[in-house]
């Protein structure tokens, strides 16, 4: 059976969670991997909690179900920590990457009793400083791929520049690099 990695991205409407899962999957395809990436469609609106998913494997796989037990959770918006059970279904020993600008110790207290690898990066600060807007979706992917090695950073940069032409793409690449370096 194929080794599959299930990723869930928790964000808020308008933050680009759907674009993030799509670009992560496109980067994986670029490397010859197999994917099934999709948003959870419902009555979304700006600011409401949303989720998107990417199922990735180096080998072909068949399942077409939603993701209930992710190996990896990415939290794009830190305010979700108080509103949404972001670790719901997270596999034992899984990985969670949070956009968080406080100390790591204060983040860890959110996840008491959760057996997972916890990482944080100041995604909103990086996005605001490097892109000029607090849209940290691709920034968080930079952090994600540093700690999980799901795809190479070069693949992510390539699909980012392909999706966002010109200065916006270049700024996102700078931000991705910074998150890749600063994730802890």
């Amino acid at each position: 059976m194929a080794e599959i990695t299930d990723v869930r991205i928790n964000g808020r409407g308008g933050q680009g969670a759907v674009t993030a899962s799509r670009l992560l999957a496109e980067a994986a395809i670029l490397e010859g991997q197999y994917v099934h990436a999709f948003p959870n469609f419902g009555p979304e609106r700006a600011g409401a909690p949303v989720t998107s998913y990417a199922r990735i494997s180096p080998e072909p796989f068949y399942e077409k179900t939603e993701v209930y037990e992710p190996h990896i959770v990415v939290v794009i918006d830190p305010t979700l920590l108080d509103d949404v059970p972001v670790v719901e279904g997270l596999r034992d020993g899984g990985t969670i990457v949070v956009n968080y600008d406080g100390e790591k110790d204060s983040l860890v207290k959110y996840f008491e009793g959760v057996h997972a690898n916890i990482y944080k990066v100041a995604g909103s600060i990086i996005a605001t400083e490097e892109i000029g807007r607090n849209v940290p979706n691709l920034v968080m992917l930079g952090a994600l791929i540093k700690v999980t090695k799901l795809v190479e950073i070069e693949s992510l940069k390539k699909v980012t520049l392909n999706r966002f032409k010109g200065v916006l793409g270049e700024k996102n690449v700078v931000a991705i690099n910074r998150a890749f370096e600063e994730v802890e």
Binding site: R22, I29, H36, F38, P39, Y62, E63, E66
Partner: protein, 395 residues
């Protein structure tokens, strides 16, 4: 076959639009409805950007969309449209006009549950209930199959031995809006596969006096319907040949039914669409536990591949039919009743256990499919040879 295969990330809807672009139909008439909308949107971009020669007709409803398709098709044009759920239901009257007037229109269906209650998610009832409309009907499991069936459908529909419309379905969101890798074809490959324009024996033309769609009563109506049945019977062989040719062209094996781990199997899943992927994943899990189980996927639903069903299921003890469609007060699930008819009276055939599941986007998880498999085995062990259950809902 050209050298390097190009691999692109596309959603199911995008795959349909891109494949249709290679076919470059003369006319597209469509009305937006979730989860189909992206097909029509992308295609209208291609028209706007001058990437295709298509006349795009924006209409005010799906009834008008299919009516415009019929009118265009009667002039000899190659015609494409797309819809879902309520949109397909609104087309229903004109589906029969399209097939009765032998218009080889191609229709992409983003399979979606019917209202009420209103729901935008995946379920295949919308397409299955068109089974008697004299349309060739296919289902796809993935964005790749959506891409391939778009091109294939024109080949089947326009074949002189068929000349019937064709629809193919992919499930809402889990295929239509999910990104997967798609191996694309070149324009040249598609041009080699499908003639540049339709072979037209008879058509509406300003300088000829002809009547189409005239009144036909007791005198000839039944003969015309019988011709449609013969065309539908022909569609089986035409589909088989077209799939063979497409397999050679694309390097991807395409068959009317796909058999997975069936050679030595005692038990089998039968399904179609995205569910067929889940069935194969469960076969892998059960095989790892030592179960002798396989999976049969139906790609061609009309004409129904009765003989394929018999050959594939011969020698199987029990078949678990996963049917993502709703029917009420029926002797079985929609696909189960077809399979039962195909196997009736034959020796060495399995007990048939149909399961209505996955309505309105509900997911039947892989562990739940394993439970259903155990149910079928249990029914078979105690000698019950036909059952129909609803699964995956709150009791």
């Amino acid at each position: 076959m050209s050298g390097v295969r190009q691999v692109v990330g596309m959603t199911g809807d995008e795959a349909v639009a891109h494949a249709a672009k290679l076919v470059n139909p003369d006319v597209v008439a469509a009305y937006p409805i979730t989860p189909q909308t992206i097909i029509a949107e992308r295609y209208s971009d291609f028209v706007n950007n001058g990437e295709v020669d298509t006349s795009f007709i924006s209409v005010e409803s799906e009834h008008s969309a299919m009516s415009a398709c019929v009118g265009a098709s009667l002039t000899g044009a190659r015609v494409f449209t797309a819809t879902a759920s309520a949109g397909l239901a609104l087309m229903y009257e004109i589906l029969y006009v399209a097939s009765g007037m032998r218009c080889p229109i191609v229709l992409a269906v983003a399979n979606r549950a019917f209202s009420a209650p209103i729901n935008i998610h995946g379920e295949c009832t919308d397409q299955l209930v068109c089974r008697d409309a004299s349309w060739v009907s296919l289902f796809g499991e993935s964005a790749q199959e959506a891409y391939d069936e778009t091109i294939l459908s024109f080949k089947i529909a326009e074949h002189p031995d068929v000349m019937l419309p064709a629809m193919f379905g992919i499930e809402g969101f889990i295929v239509t809006h999910a990104l997967e890798r798609v191996e694309t074809l070149s324009k040249q490959q598609v041009d080699d596969f499908i003639p540049a324009s339709r072979i037209v024996r008879d058509r509406f033309c300003p300088d000829e006096n002809k009547t189409f769609g005239s009144l036909v009563l007791q005198d000839y109506y039944m003969e015309i319907k019988r011709q449609q049945e013969e065309a539908m019977q022909n569609a089986y062989k035409v589909t088989e040949d077209a799939m063979q040719e497409f397999s050679e062209l694309s390097g991807r094996k395409m068959e009317i039914t796909e058999k997975y781990q069936l050679e030595d199997a005692d038990y089998a899943f039968v399904s179609y669409g995205a569910t067929a992927g889940n069935a194969k994943a469960v076969v892998d899990r059960l095989r790892a536990k030592g179960e002798k189980v396989g999976a049969l996927k139906i790609r061609l639903f009309r004409p129904f591949p009765s003989m394929d069903m018999f050959q594939a299921l011969s020698g199987i003890k029990a078949a678990t039919i996963l049917d993502r469609s709703a029917t009420f007060g029926s002797p079985g699930t929609i696909v189960q009743t077809d399979i039962a008819s195909a196997l009736y009276g034959k020796e060495n055939v399995p007990s048939l256990h149909g399961y209505i599941n996955g309505l309105g986007g509900r997911v039947l998880t892989l562990p739940e499919i394993e439970e259903v498999y155990e149910m079928s085995k249990e029914y078979n062990n105690i000698g019950i040879n036909s059952t129909t259950d609803w699964v995956g809902y709150r009791k």
